[in-house]
């Protein structure tokens, strides 16, 4: 049961291509190699493969017609948003027809009274909050890539972000969605735009969120909006060591304070971010914590004082508070663009994603420091400390095959330790092709079989985004990272 039925790599025929062109128009079918180059990988660049063809439909009917045509020809389909995923979730392992949703990017409607919005799948995450802002509402999940990533991709990976500590992840904020099944049938899962929030029957919405595009193509999404907080208090606490900062995190959580966000950056990241954005971070700090409280104004001052006291108890050298909204936004810009700034530290890097129980944060951070010695590589850390969701960034030079190997092994060692500490090999980036080998460590054969069965309920032919997640999946021929200019 666990092995995927081997698929014959099916090259789209001239007939299928002609059919696709009829559906979406000549201009929206890409098949020239140079046009396909953009689609050879996502933000996980260690494996690349060109799709046979990329189709850019403009509406649900076109998606349905494209999917139906591919079903008739037995060709794999790979739904794709902005390609910001970090685990190869949209890699066309076998080629096939990639369906890029980027033209379907509208905010269709905002229902302020019921705090909902309908958006197309290719709508960029940050655009939802922008459209909701006039009503003092926002869409809460805010991945660091939120100015590029799409809501459809967020649904596929059940994306998180810094503010999920208090607000929850995508599944807590996506009420329902329109969905094109693998046979082209259009259906709506979960809450409908005009319907009440309790839906009878199975929660197929919840089952499909986080299925990494393997159940079908999301075309339209009904999201929950939350009220823009009345007030914020955003602190930057400076520590001598990651260990001290980790203890402060535990102490804040244990006190029953639920910050909106609780983010850590280590010395490597602080240096990169400071060089890029000149925020004024102390370059000699071992770690900095961003602690953000939000909510009603009256109680924030005393909660804030409590946070400051707890940071100081764990030897914070300094705790600054953002005095203006501009300062707060500048701080968040640094945090969210930290990955981009890493390019200043190294020509190439591998961003890992793992989770440990919050109380094990000091253990996993100590292990990561150990790994820098074991593997002889620098590892920078910027992560969601409040959730126990780590993002070690392994720095390497991709022209040196030995460094590439060591980087991959360091990442794997860290994930294995996350599992040993009772955690998970992915908190928000997904399994994709990158972490397939870990699935058998985290789940039993029966668990994995049940997941395969669930997949086949939605896609009996296993043609939708094949060769992801499951052990035994077909791999891209060679694991051969190409030379590439500095990021």
């Amino acid at each position: 049961m666990t092995t995927t039925t081997p698929q014959t790599p099916t090259v789209p025929t001239a007939e299928l291509l002609a059919g696709l062109r009829r559906v979406v128009g000549e201009a929206h079918v890409l098949s020239a190699p140079e046009a396909l180059q953009v689609y050879e990988c996502d933000a996980y660049t260690l494996q690349r493969r060109l799709p046979h063809v990329v189709v850019l439909p403009g509406n649900t009917d076109e998606v349905s017609a494209v999917v139906r045509a591919c079903a008739e020809h037995g060709v794999p389909i790979i739904p794709r948003g902005a390609g910001t995923s970090l685990s190869g979730g949209v890699l066309p392992v076998d080629g096939g027809v990639m369906i890029a949703l980027t033209r379907m990017n509208r905010v269709v409607s905002v229902d302020a009274r019921n705090r909902r919005a309908v958006v197309e799948a290719g709508c960029v995450n940050a655009w939802i909050s922008r459209a909701a802002a006039p009503y003092d509402l926002l869409y809460a999940p805010d991945p660091s890539s939120q100015t590029a990533c799409t809501i459809g991709g967020n649904v596929a990976t059940n994306s998180g972000g810094p503010h999920t500590l208090k607000y929850g992840v995508t599944t807590n904020h996506v009420l329902g969605f329109e969905f094109v099944q693998a046979d082209g049938e259009v259906t709506w899962l979960g809450v409908t735009p005009e319907g009440g929030e309790d839906v009878e029957g199975y929660d197929l919405r919840g089952a499909a969120i986080g299925s990494e595009g393997m159940f079908g193509v999301v075309t339209r999404v009904l999201v929950r909006l939350v009220r823009r907080p009345q007030a914020w208090k955003t602190y930057l606490a400076v520590f001598e060591s990651v260990a001290d900062a980790s203890q402060a995190v535990s102490d804040i959580i244990r006190a029953g304070i639920v910050p909106a966000a609780l983010e850590m950056m280590d010395r490597e990241i602080v240096h990169a971010v400071e060089a890029a954005y000149h925020f004024g971070f102390p370059l000699d700090a071992g770690a900095v914590l961003i602690v953000e409280l939000d909510g009603l104004a009256p109680g924030l001052d005393s909660q804030g004082a409590d946070v400051v006291a707890r940071c100081e108890r764990h030897r914070a050298r300094e705790v600054r508070v953002a005095r203006t909204d501009q300062e707060r936004l500048a701080l968040w810009k640094c945090r969210k663009q930290a990955f981009g700034a890493v390019g200043r530290l190294s020509p190439a890097f591998l961003t890992q994603d793992g989770v440990v129980p919050r109380s094990k944060l000091p253990d996993i951070m100590a292990f990561i420091i150990e790994c820098t010695q074991t593997y002889g590589l620098r590892i920078a850390n910027v992560f969601h400390a409040g959730d126990g969701n780590i993002h070690p960034i392994v720095l390497y030079d991709e022209r040196d095959p030995d460094q590439v190997r060591r980087a991959v092994h360091a990442g794997e060692a860290i994930l294995a330790r996350c599992l040993a500490l009772g955690g998970s090999v992915s908190g928000e980036h997904g399994i994709g092709v990158e972490k397939i080998d870990f699935m058998a460590q985290q789940f039993s054969t029966d668990d994995l079989d049940a997941m395969q069965q669930l997949r086949r309920v939605f896609d009996p032919g296993a043609r939708c985004n094949p060769h992801k997640i499951f052990p035994g999946s077909k791999r891209c021929g060679d694991f051969q990272p190409r030379k590439r200019a500095s990021a």
Partner: protein
Amino acid sequence: MSAVVRPASVEALREAVAAAHASKQRLAPVDLGALSRVVAFSPDDMTVTVEAGITVEALQDVLAEAGQWLPIDPPHASTTSIADVLHDDISGPRRFGHGTIREHVLGVAAVVGDGRLIRSGGRVVKNVAGYDMAKVFVGDHRSLGLIVEATFKLSPRPAHERVFTWSSSSLDAVEVELARVLTGPTEPVLADLHNSERPGEADAVTWSLVVGFAGHADDVAWQAAHLGTSWDALETMGHEQRFWTGRAFATTQRTSVLPSRLIDHVRTLRPGLACVARAGNGVIHTDEPRVTTRTPSPLEQRLKATFDPHDILPGLS
């Protein structure tokens, strides 16, 4: 009629289900009373793993010792198990502030209709490894499997909570006041509408709004002041207890509409029909037996056939 199955262990339950599957016989009702341990409670991680037979009240008592709670408040907490809450998607008034059980579940272990034990999710607060299979069992009315263990994300117990009520015989007036509260700057954790206050005249109906605030003392006081003097403080949630006395959540009719259409829906109810509405959510519980007329979708039917191929568990309703 077959007796109730009272498995002493998960393995015993697996055997009972596998036997029913093999003989293609309906499984007798299962009592998980013997599977009611707290498996792991880690206050520092704010997560708990329990056997599904534990009652909500017993669980909340354990969590309270560490100043935490699972933010659900179903009726009949002393007799309602975690399995009940999950399979029947049972919720209470505070769902307005905290959501329903599916927002809090991190992972489950369930024995599906062919006797296999399946685990999904995990014990950490963020986890996207594998499909989120736990979700298919939430609200499945035990038609796909039987949850034997579940892990939840916990919240700090609010330091303070205050509840207020406001009554009128006019639904028009209720609509205006409700909109004022829901669109104003306060952030209630509960916002109910009910008709259980008995007015003086025999045929008049009194509609009452009940609104509650929880959290930091300063926040609660500020919000209470914002409600205004026409609201009265409540010591207990009497309306909630009155409505559910003698009624079971799973067999009582529940209707869900857009929150903005709640009052319009309430106007269509038969005069005198007892109801309690989660006004902020647009969910109305009425004193009628639950009826469903929907036909499961092809996807739902395939899911049922996949995990309960011999139909030994209750039907999908």
